[in-house]
Each structure stands twice: as structure tokens, then as C-alpha cells.
């Protein structure tokens, strides 16, 4: 490196000389590579989804259609559970919307980073914005030199998308061979349990789950499965109320002795 007189200290500290310049290709590939460990968790879910969709009586093309178009794991599981329970179509769509509302947070978090991109970029990136893609993309955006980071986002998102399709397809082919007497449909609530339990981290989240679950059982006889929506709203309201009360309590000064 030639000696530079009066070099800017900022440039020196923020750009390590050993890092090769990132190209779109290298960014895309490192995004894809960084997604690989996450596939350990995603591929089994895709397999289970495909198998359960078939067990719920959904034809193969429609089962694959969920993964291709909706492309949002937990909401797909919820949807096939509701399809199996003869829930009206529009109510299922509403439930998918509610389950995926959390992606709005991801959208808000990444928005400042992709603001300068054209709609031609924003549309595919938004399409690929899953939990896993968000995890890797937001890590990437914390690093230096973000000019080519959208290629990383694309690489990580497309890797996940392709894996989700292939594992769903494998699950569909596998699921069609499993006899009904195995009660494979029970794997669906078990999958939900495994997703739910780690989310019960504090009192508001526990209250939300307990109230929603209790209401859902109590309102089981409501027509059109409307009890489900009422239960979700009730649970979130209970959790939010508890959170507000806890925060107010914490905000009050300790009494002096």
C-alpha cells in the first residue's frame, strides 16, 4: 500500500485492508452460505408441512401452492389446520394475516436500508422477507460497506425460498404414503407446541397464550370458528394490559424506609 499523507483516520479504522472488495456475486454467495445453518431448522419444517398438508386432505398442487405463494411457515401450518377444520376461506385468510403481522416489524427494521433501491428490488426483497431472511439480512446491515448488501439479502432469501419448496415437495411425496391410522394430524398441534413454548418468556406472553387458549376452548361452539378470532384478540388484549400495568408499577418510585 503506498503511503498516503494526511489520511483520514475514519477510513483507516472502518475499512480493514485485508477485506477484498465485495461484488454482487460474492455478496449473493455469502448470503446463500450464511443461510445454510438455518436450513437445519427449516427443511424439517418443510417436510412436516408437506406431509401434514396431505394428511389434512389438501391436494398436492395446492399444498405446494401454499409454500410457493404464501411462503410463511407458521401461518401455513395454521392455515392447513383450519382447512382441515372446515373453516370458511375468508376467515383463514384473516388468520394468515394476523399470524404474519409480525413481519411488519421486519419491514420497518429493514426499510431504512433498502430505501434507496428501486421498486424492482424492493418487491422481490419484500417477498423473501421471512424470519430467517430477516435474521441474516439484519446482521449483514450491521456491518460496514452496505452498498452491495441487497445482493446478500437476495442470496440469503432465495436460498431459503428454494429450500422451502424442495422440502415441501419431499414432504408431500412422503406424506402421501403414510396411512391415516398413524394419526399424523396430531403432529400439527405438537409442532405448534414446540413453537409456542419457547415464546412464553414473560408474564404478558404467558397471559396472552393462557387467555387466548381458554377463550378458544370456551367459544368452541361459536359459528364459523369466529371464536378463534375472538380468542386471539382477547389473549393479546390481556397480555398487553398486563404489560401496561407492570410498566406502570415499575415506573412508580420505591417507597423510602
Amino acid at each position: 500500500m503506498p503511503p498516503v499523507s494526511g489520511e483520514d483516520p475514519m477510513t483507516v479504522t472502518s475499512m480493514p485492508a485485508v477485506t477484498p472488495a465485495a461484488t454482487p456475486r460474492s455478496e449473493f454467495l455469502s448470503g446463500a452460505r450464511d443461510q445454510l445453518p438455518l436450513l437445519l431448522g427449516v427443511v424439517p419444517f418443510g417436510l412436516i408441512f408437506g406431509a401434514l398438508a396431505v394428511a389434512a386432505g389438501i391436494p398436492a398442487w395446492e399444498a405446494l401452492g401454499f409454500s410457493v405463494f404464501v411462503f410463511a411457515g407458521s401461518s401455513q401450518f395454521v392455515a392447513i389446520g383450519l382447512v382441515a377444520g372446515q373453516t370458511p376461506a375468508l376467515l383463514i385468510v384473516a388468520t394468515i394475516l394476523v399470524v404474519n403481522l409480525r413481519h411488519m416489524l421486519y419491514s420497518a427494521a429493514l426499510a431504512p436500508h433498502v430505501q434507496a433501491l428501486s421498486l424492482r428490488w424492493k418487491i422481490p426483497l419484500a417477498w423473501l422477507l421471512t424470519d430467517e431472511a430477516f435474521a441474516m439480512a439484519s446482521l449483514r446491515y450491521q456491518k460496514e460497506d452496505r452498498r452491495t448488501a441487497h445482493w446478500y439479502f437476495l442470496g440469503t432469501g432465495l436460498t431459503l425460498w428454494a429450500s422451502w419448496q424442495l422440502s415441501t415437495l419431499a414432504g408431500i411425496l412422503l406424506g402421501a404414503r403414510i396411512p391415516e391410522s398413524w394419526s399424523l394430524d396430531f403432529a400439527l398441534p405438537l409442532t405448534f407446541l414446540a413453537i409456542l413454548v419457547p415464546q412464553l418468556r414473560d408474564r404478558p406472553s404467558i397471559a396472552s397464550a393462557l387467555v387466548a387458549g381458554g377463550l378458544s376452548v370456551a367459544l368452541i361452539a361459536m359459528p364459523l370458528k369466529l371464536g378463534l378470532m375472538a380468542a386471539i384478540i382477547g389473549g393479546v388484549a390481556a397480555g398487553a394490559l398486563l404489560e401496561v400495568l407492570t410498566r406502570q408499577h415499575a415506573a412508580e418510585p420505591e417507597p423510602r424506609r
Partner: protein, 106 residues
């Protein structure tokens, strides 16, 4: 459910999900998300999952069945314990399914 209805669910669900993901990236300025909404969204997944799981365990045939011969209830309780202790999706499913099959044989 008929196939056209299924496609309504798929395409409707896809559109809803895409609109959410696109929301702040292309539709709404990102500073418009109030903090209370941000905190509330965190509570949605536990509510949805629990509201879907519990009727299947407590009332598998459509009416409340808190009895010893409700295999799904006991298998589900065991699976909850496994999920809590291990945090493993696979182990939760395997233990829950084995419990259901085991109870079915008793």
C-alpha cells in the same frame, strides 16, 4: 373445502402476507409504527398458537373432554413438558406421537 376455495385461501393469504412484508419497505414511511403496536405484535404469536392448540387437546371431538381416556390431552401435556425442557421441535413431535400411539394401545 373445494379446490377453488383452497386457491382463494392460498392467493388471499399470499397477498395479505406480501402486503405486510412490503408495508414499511415500500408503502408506509418507517417512522409511522407506534411503540405500543410494536409491543403488542410480540403477543400475537403466543395467542394464535395457543388458541389453535388447546381445543384440539381439551376437546378433540368438539366438546370438552377432561378425562383419562382423552389420549390427545395426556400426550399433549407430556409434549409440552418436553418442549419446555428441551426446546427441541423434533423431540417434542417424536415424544408426543409415541405417547399418543402408546396410550392408544393401553
Amino acid at each position: 373445502m373445494t379446490r377453488p376455495e383452497l386457491w382463494l385461501v392460498i392467493l388471499g393469504g399470499a397477498l395479505a402476507t406480501f402486503a405486510i412484508r412490503l408495508s414499511f419497505i415500500a408503502l408506509i414511511p418507517p417512522d409511522r409504527l407506534p411503540g405500543s403496536l410494536r409491543r403488542g405484535l410480540r403477543l400475537v404469536p403466543p395467542a394464535v398458537l395457543s388458541a389453535i392448540i388447546l381445543p384440539g387437546l381439551l376437546a378433540p371431538a368438539g366438546h370438552l373432554a377432561l378425562s383419562l381416556d382423552n389420549d390427545r390431552l395426556w400426550a399433549g401435556l407430556l409434549a409440552t413438558l418436553v418442549a419446555w425442557r428441551t426446546r427441541s421441535t423434533w423431540l417434542t413431535i417424536v415424544v408426543g406421537m409415541l405417547a399418543l400411539w402408546g396410550l392408544g394401545l393401553v
